[in-house]
Symmetry: C2
Subunit: 393 residues, 2 copies
């Protein structure tokens, strides 16, 4: 590969600059809530708080990110303090130790606003505790994380246990979101030394995820029947979420490398390729949010917006592909994606990245943090890309 097409050192410089000069400082400066702990996550373009409520996904994810940076990059006391503040806030306010449920949304002071009949708040809570335990060496956090993971595992087998009614008209459909988040959680909880404990679960997650991959059609479907059937008559059966599939791809690649499973590695790379190719907007560039695999209009009104996170996930996923496989197309994809991403999302003036663009690439939402965007996808992808380059180049 010629240097101007792929220069890992230069890439790392760019990623590190974004991560440590723009993204992390933004959250360090604007998110801490000195009065109540935890983080403001509704931050406008310039870091000002436009709503003081706190969304649990983002509290957990930010605590995870700062724990990770503390443990693996530099033992900065500020980073540990920030992580601690989120962990304490979550344990004190979001977590119900009686039944294991974790709220979705809280008022600034921690009083609960909303409890979803879903498992994702719990997932990001587990992720945060596991990494914080590893960062501090305090086992008690890992104990809660593991207990909670066990509960969530059970709930995914029977969602009525957390109050979501199972009704007879519902088609039996499996969502990619569930096994992929579980697989990622196991990676976070198991770390380097506890993989044996989860051998069965890892295998189950991988098997479930692969049911979504329809090789013959080069499709990675968000929802499939119990045996992986393509439910082509319904809009959720046809649904494609390219960013999600790409994220699933790099989760799988981690395990393929760890378990030394070559076939799985090739499949993971294909998941990323196919989803990228399907998702790419030839007219304006960037990845669509939702698509319909038969070409109908997706029912999601925001289908054609360009969100930051499919792009950050693809950055890391395609970097894996470029390194692991000798396919010229991967490099073309990577450079196309990287070019779009870095010319559209970062905000050099105020730091962090914009999250939501219109189809044509103009900014749709000017805020840097909101109910679903916080200190997570941008820094995680930049961090992972840097770690990857360090390991492989």
């Amino acid at each position: 590969m010629t240097d101007h097409l792929f220069n890992p050192k230069q890439l790392k410089q760019q990623f590190e600059h974004e991560l440590y000069e723009s993204v992390i400082p933004f959250w360090e400066r604007f998110s801490p809530d000195a009065a109540y702990g935890g983080y403001f996550n509704c931050l406008d373009f310039d870091g000002s708080v436009y709503d003081s409520r706190k969304h649990v996904w983002l509290q957990g994810r930010q605590a995870w990110m700062f724990s990770k940076l503390y443990r693996t990059i530099e033992q900065k006391q500020e980073w540990l303090n920030l992580a601690q503040s989120g962990i304490d806030f979550l344990l004190d306010n979001a977590y119900n130790s009686e039944n294991g449920r974790v709220y979705f949304e809280m008022a600034r002071d921690g009083k609960p606003i909303y409890l979803q009949r879903k498992i994702f708040s719990e997932c990001f809570f587990i992720m945060a505790l596991a990494e914080f335990s590893r960062a501090t060496g305090e086992e008690k956090y890992m104990t809660i994380a593991k207990e909670e993971l066990e509960r969530v595992w059970e709930w995914t087998k029977d969602i009525s246990k957390i109050g979501r009614p199972v009704l007879e008209g519902q088609s039996e459909m499996n969502s990619l979101a569930i096994p992929m988040i579980l697989l990622n959680l196991i990676e976070e909880v198991a770390g380097d030394d506890d993989v044996e404990t989860y051998t069965d679960e890892i295998d189950q997650c991988i098997k479930l995820m692969l049911k979504h991959v329809h090789e013959d059609k080069k499709l990675v479907l968000e929802n499939v029947g119990p045996d992986g059937e393509y439910m082509a008559n319904s809009y959720d059966g046809r649904m494609l979420v390219p960013g999600h599939a790409i994220e699933a791809g790099w989760f799988l690649q981690h395990w393929a490398l760890r378990l030394k499973r070559d076939e799985l590695s090739k499949t993971a790379a294909n998941i990323i390729r196919w989803s990228f190719d399907k998702g790419w907007d030839e007219k304006f560039g960037g990845l669509f949010y939702f698509l319909d695999s038969k070409g109908y209009s997706p029912t999601q009104l925001e289908w054609n917006k360009k969100l930051w996170w499919p792009h950050t996930e693809a950055l890391y996923g395609l970097l894996q592909n470029v390194t692991l496989f000798d396919e010229k197309e991967d490099l073309l994809r990577f450079n196309k994606l990287r070019n779009y991403t870095f010319t559209h999302f970062p905000d050099a003036e105020h730091g962090e990245w914009f999250g939501y663009l219109n189809r044509d690439g103009s900014v749709s939402q000017r805020f840097k943090g909101g109910p679903y965007k916080g200190c997570f996808h941008v820094p995680r992808a930049l961090y992972l890309c840097n770690q990857w380059i360090e390991e492989y180049y």
Copy 2:
């Protein structure tokens, strides 16, 4: 007024043409489900079914529409049959007579898929039953409608009764959606002869709705505190939904005229004016879906899409204003809106209207029916405009 600016006869011709040559025939032709009853409501641009599931809001609304047409326009047997088919389907499948709950979504055969912890499925069920009762003269449907309205009324006072947890971090906030739909339901249920029964309720609804109107700022807020306070520190407190406010405006105008309340009539007209002026996109034309009253970005990703229904509601609301008040600005608004609406939404080739445009006016979703669009806002507005013109010109 000069004729070329406002020609009621010509308008009526245009509206009637759309209604009876394009919109109604589309639903007559493509929506009936001969096998299971009720209506396919997920219809692509050309009327083909892209998903056979049935959304209850739209089943109820279509049954209402065809009942109304049958009773007030022409006693066509096909219209009555179509209405009957929806009513039977709802009573047999959507409605739980034990507890009064009505499902949100059903499979084609009527098996339940989803039950919301909200009251809107119930509302459109009531609306359908009331009008169908009036169309057929069969009292039994009105009896259910009235019982159900009483239940819904109680639930709106304490939403925990339908399983939505009330948590202590939730700010006490009233939503415009609740009193406005109740007021409209009372109009539908009471008809011409039963208004006395609901005097108190009508008054309560109007009072609650007026709390959302902040005259000093010319704002109609979607959510306010218990005494109408502007909750300017939170994104839901700042939220504007211009189409919704405009719809509330014409609901109120109906009652203002009926109750001969001049002040209320002026307020209703102002609600429509202010919401239209705030909501209008000066750059591309059309009404935004969501706005933030302090100029922050709305958290709804679809905020800048142009949806059909704010435009249809504004068509009728502004027509009321033009007739009732001698304000040149109202006519300018009406003509601007009408011009945008008729050049962007109708589909002369396949019938019915597109529902979802991008900010720039290009089609975002090509389907004519979906989870929230069916045989309702377009025909209702055209119908109401025609009735209005007939009455006033």
